[in-house]
């Protein structure tokens, strides 16, 4: 069995984050695709509380929650840093990553998939949230500075999924927030 295993689904940006982190550190891993409509016994055993992906196994250690896994990867393996060294910069990066999960993911999803008043409200929330992110990016190549870091990895779905969804659903939100792409 490989030293590192990642349980995921192809469509999940949260799983992609973990893979990005492992790839940054050049860690080899075995990927196991899950069927969320028919979750494997292993997944339910490794993540009994949330029953979700991603789950990462490393030498018998079971890790869940993508942001927690990214911090673990950064601490265990050498290579380009995922988090900054300075405590205040680390706190900022963690704050933005959490902000993305708490305030961006849900309204973006709702903006794409809901209707009527709920969708209008979600579009406003999304625009506000993305404006805050854009403000953080001002003048820098990446959220992490010259190199990719925690926040860039966490925001991955904005570049990948959201653009695809927006084109598919004909929304105009992101044209307002150009520099994030």
């Amino acid at each position: 069995m490989a030293e590192v295993q990642v349980f995921g689904v192809w469509s999940s940006p949260f799983v992609r984050r973990v893979e990005m982190g492992l790839k940054m550190k050049r860690v080899e891993y075995e990927y196991v695709e899950e069927d969320l409509k028919n979750k494997s016994d292993l997944l339910l055993k490794y993540n009994p509380i949330y029953k979700k992906v991603p789950v990462m196994l490393h030498n018998g250690n079971i890790l869940v929650e993508s942001l927690i896994i990214l911090e673990y990867i950064d601490e265990v393996w050498e290579g380009p840093p995922i988090l900054p060294k300075d405590p205040y910069e680390r706190a900022r990066a963690r704050f933005l990553a959490k902000f993305i999960d708490d305030k961006c993911a849900s309204p973006i999803w709702k903006a794409c998939w809901s209707k009527g008043e709920e969708r209008e409200k979600a579009i406003v929330e999304t625009t506000e949230a993305l404006k805050i992110l854009e403000n953080e990016l001002k003048g820098k190549k990446f959220f992490g500075g010259d190199n990719i870091g925690l926040v860039d990895i966490t925001a991955n779905f904005i570049a990948g999924w959201f653009l695809g969804l927006q084109e598919f659903l004909g929304l105009q939100i992101l044209t307002k927030i150009i520099s994030l792409i």
Binding site: I49, H58, N61, L63, V64, E65, I68, I69, E71, Y72, E75, V76, P87, Y88, R90, A91, R94, F95, K98, F99, K103, I132
Partner: protein, 221 residues
């Protein structure tokens, strides 16, 4: 150069209490400023424009928000002080501690709030889920003296602040937490023997009065 440390907080906030405990553990001197959440200060809005919430720790002019992130910051900055680190040194134990602290925030806070704000069937459902969540934490404690193991640590700080709210939850929900989770209550009492915890936690009676005041204000009686 001496540090300037300010904490924007609210007496009854369990999130604020966490920061108070951590600062006390590290022996850090700071200025405590009580906020009025019905009339937030311009300073708070400037320091936390994204969420406009407390607690906010301002260290030499730099604001740090979100209580669990503040705990990590405090642990990283004041690391040569007289007390041991809050977070475990092993990467996997750190990940586990972060997981459970996140669980506390996802489950205990929301369920607790539903417990004291709702009535009837909704309250009963919240009560059951609340006890289930505490039982999971009790399982994580096992036979250890602290959630952090032999020593009081990050996860203990994250959860023990809620102990000041137990009385309010019990009065509102008409049940005894100790009856369902005796080991967890024993753990909380053990933590309360530490000066940093005892002086940082709000008086449970005052917390209960705070919930009564809020219920009246928002017509939840």
């Amino acid at each position: 150069m001496s540090d300037e440390v300010i904490l924007l907080d609210v007496y009854a906030s369990m999130f604020g209490m966490r920061v108070r405990i951590a600062l006390a553990e590290k022996g850090v001197e700071y200025e405590y400023r009580e906020e009025d959440l019905g009339n937030k200060s311009p300073f708070l809005l400037q320091m936390n424009p994204v969420y406009k919430k407390i607690p906010v720790l301002i260290h030499n002019g730099n604001p740090i928000c979100e209580s669990l992130l503040i705990l990590e910051y405090i642990d990283e900055v004041w690391k040569d002080n007289k007390s041991p680190p809050l977070l475990p040194s092993d990467a996997y134990h750190r990940a586990t501690a972060r997981f459970w602290a996140d669980f506390v925030d996802k489950k205990v806070f929301d369920l607790g709030r539903r417990l004291w704000t709702r009535k009837g069937e909704e309250q009963e459902a919240a009560k059951k889920e609340f006890i289930d969540a505490l039982k999971l934490l009790e399982g994580e404690l096992g036979n250890k003296p602290y959630l952090g193991g032999d020593k009081f640590g990050y996860l203990d700080v994250a959860l023990v602040a809620y102990y000041s709210w137990f009385y309010a939850y019990e009065k509102c929900g008409n049940f005894s937490i100790e009856e369902h989770c005796p080991k967890l209550v024993a753990w909380a009492k053990r933590c309360m023997k530490k000066e940093s915890v005892a002086k940082s936690l709000a008086d449970p009676i005052k917390v209960y009065e705070f919930t009564l005041m809020l219920k009246k204000k928002y017509g939840l009686e």
